[in-house]
């Protein structure tokens, strides 16, 4: 629609704005940009100067931001971080499957599944209410101490299982709220077409529900990425433990900062991806005709 076929040669896509109003708006937005820039520069300038000139700063800098220790800790903590990533990937895989199964069980109305529904409710109450660190300690030290044959004794395995148990309770609730948020009319429409209950869930309800809960799920993933560090209490040399060993050896806290930076670097892409996905869903919802 670049040209009009009629007599008019006015481009229809450029809305008319009063020129005087336009220039007033431009002046105002230039002034706003200037004020924002100035206030930001002044604020951060004052903070940096205040910190750097405070009497305690050299001591703080040496304890937390020491370049030599940074260089020393960096490679070791980075290698150890691979263990965190491994825990995260394995745990996440099981959490997603078990969480969805738990959600479906708790939402089912079948009388035969009542005992499973009771177990599911108890499970959720227990593991959402218990500190994750407590579960890690209980399983990681408690189970190997039983000396039962056939059970793994690797603390890494039990730490991962503890994370799975804890996070499945959260993720199941996320799935459950997503499924419950699908309007009953969708189910009625599917059933009226002759789809069975299982087919209705599989093709109509779950695809919509899962799409809807991806942002909160990713939020839980970010949290899980950090909580892989809880396994450090059991002894495996993952990132936090690796940093801790150097801290204890050198009486300097810079390795913790290294660990913090690496965890942040791990979670930021996930956080930005979540933001992007949420924004995209918001756009899709508002661009729909109704």
């Amino acid at each position: 629609m670049s040209t009009n076929t009629g007599a008019s040669i006015v481009e229809p896509e450029v809305p008319y704005v009063d020129p005087e109003r336009r220039s007033r708006r431009q002046r105002r937005s230039r002034r706003n940009a200037l004020v924002a820039t100035l206030s930001t520069v002044v604020f951060f300038g004052v903070v940096v100067i205040a910190v750097a000139t405070s009497p305690g700063w050299p001591v703080v800098q040496d304890a937390f931001f020491n370049g030599d220790y940074f260089a020393l800790a960096w490679p070791e903590v980075l290698v150890a971080l691979l263990i965190n990533i491994k825990i995260f990937v394995v745990a996440e895989f099981f959490i997603l499957i078990l969480g969805l199964l738990l959600a479906l069980t708790r939402l089912s109305k079948s009388p035969a599944l009542l005992p499973l529904r009771i177990v599911g409710t108890l499970y959720t109450d227990i593991f959402r209410g218990t500190p994750t660190l407590l579960v890690v300690l209980l399983l990681g030290f408690g189970v190997p101490a039983l000396n039962l044959s056939g059970l793994p004794t690797d603390p890494l395995v039990w730490g991962t299982i503890a994370l799975i148990l804890s996070y499945t309770a959260y993720v199941a609730e996320v799935f459950r709220s997503g499924i419950a948020s699908i309007h009953p009319s969708q189910r009625a429409a599917a059933r009226s077409l002759g789809l069975s209950n299982v087919q209705t869930n599989r093709y109509v309800v779950l695809p919509q529900a899962i799409r809807r809960v991806i942002p909160p799920l990713l939020n839980d993933f970010v949290s899980l990425q950090k909580d892989t560090a809880l396994v450090s209490v059991l002894g495996p040399i993952e990132a936090l433990r690796a940093a801790q060993i150097i801290v204890y050896g050198k009486f300097n806290y810079t390795p913790y900062i290294v660990g913090a930076l690496l965890f942040i670097a791990l979670t930021i892409p996930m956080a930005r991806f979540t933001d992007w996905l949420t924004a995209r869903q918001e756009r899709q919802r508002s661009s729909g005709s109704r």
């Binding site: 009319s185 599917a190 059933r191 009226s192 077409l193 002759g194 093709y203 109509v204 005709s289």
Partner: protein, 245 residues
């Protein structure tokens, strides 16, 4: 005398203490178009949902093409394959294209191959002037187009009868006509139709029979000219006076 395709006999249905159907009796012959009119809450929608097995009845019998919907061991899947239903709120599946919406049930319920289901869907879309929308998602369509797709989706199951539950009530006034035209076309092709509507003009034009539903039962039933033009019952006259202004 044509055989009754749908038969509703003294059906009662309550939601908690709220008795919605109170002795509803009604029958629809094959190829007949029956229009239900009546105030909101009079039980029209509930009746349609009971026929489709979306609600269970408390008493009475509903027969669909010889199948007892109200039996304890009723085969709802068989019933729903015989009777298509279209809702006021369209209820298209938003995560599927138009084609996906239409082919889902034929593929998963009837076991039609994907190619054949798609071909049939495209034929139906062409018949209703929607072939250009086959690959669009529902949120790209106007309300009228969504409702027409919902009708096509129900037709794809090749039902013997269609239930329409106030299918134009959620539409902007200028979109009502295109949906009613589709239903008019279905009547001409011989479809058995039971519909609840507030479109009195359409009822007058298209219905073989109009039933005035009041307080959960059919109070008056007859040819549209009689029920709408010269009602016997005072309640019917009151209702029509309110609706027609």
């Amino acid at each position: 005398m044509a055989v009754d395709l749908l038969r509703v006999d003294d059906v009662h249905k309550a939601f908690g203490d709220n008795a919605v159907l109170r002795g509803m009796t009604l029958s629809v012959a094959a190829h007949e178009v029956v229009v239900l009119i009546g105030a909101s809450g009079s039980g029209k929608s509930t009746l349609l949902r009971c026929i489709n097995g979306l609600e269970s009845v408390d008493a009475g019998v509903i027969m669909v093409d010889g199948l007892d919907v109200t039996a304890d061991d009723a085969d709802f899947d068989a019933v729903r394959q015989r009777v298509g239903m279209v809702f006021q709120s369209f209820n298209l599946f938003p995560h599927m294209s138009v084609l996906g919406n239409i082919t889902l049930a034929p593929r998963k319920v009837l076991g039609v191959s994907a190619d054949e289901a798609e071909q049939r869907a495209r034929d139906l879309l062409t018949r209703f002037g929607l072939e250009a929308k086959a690959d669009d998602y529902p949120d790209r369509l106007s309300g009228g187009q969504q409702q027409r797709v919902a009708i096509v989706r129900a037709l794809a199951m090749q039902p013997q009868a269609m239930l329409f539950d106030e299918v134009t009530s959620a539409l902007d006034p200028e979109l009502v006509g295109e949906v009613l035209d589709v239903i008019r076309g279905l009547k001409e092709s011989g479809m058995t139709i039971l519909m609840a509507t507030h479109e009195m003009g359409f009822a007058r034009d298209v219905a073989d029979r109009v039933c005035f539903v009041d307080a959960g039962r059919v109070l008056e039933s007859g040819p549209p000219a009689q029920v709408l033009g010269d009602p016997h019952e005072a309640r019917t006259r009151e209702f029509l006076a309110r609706v027609l202004g």
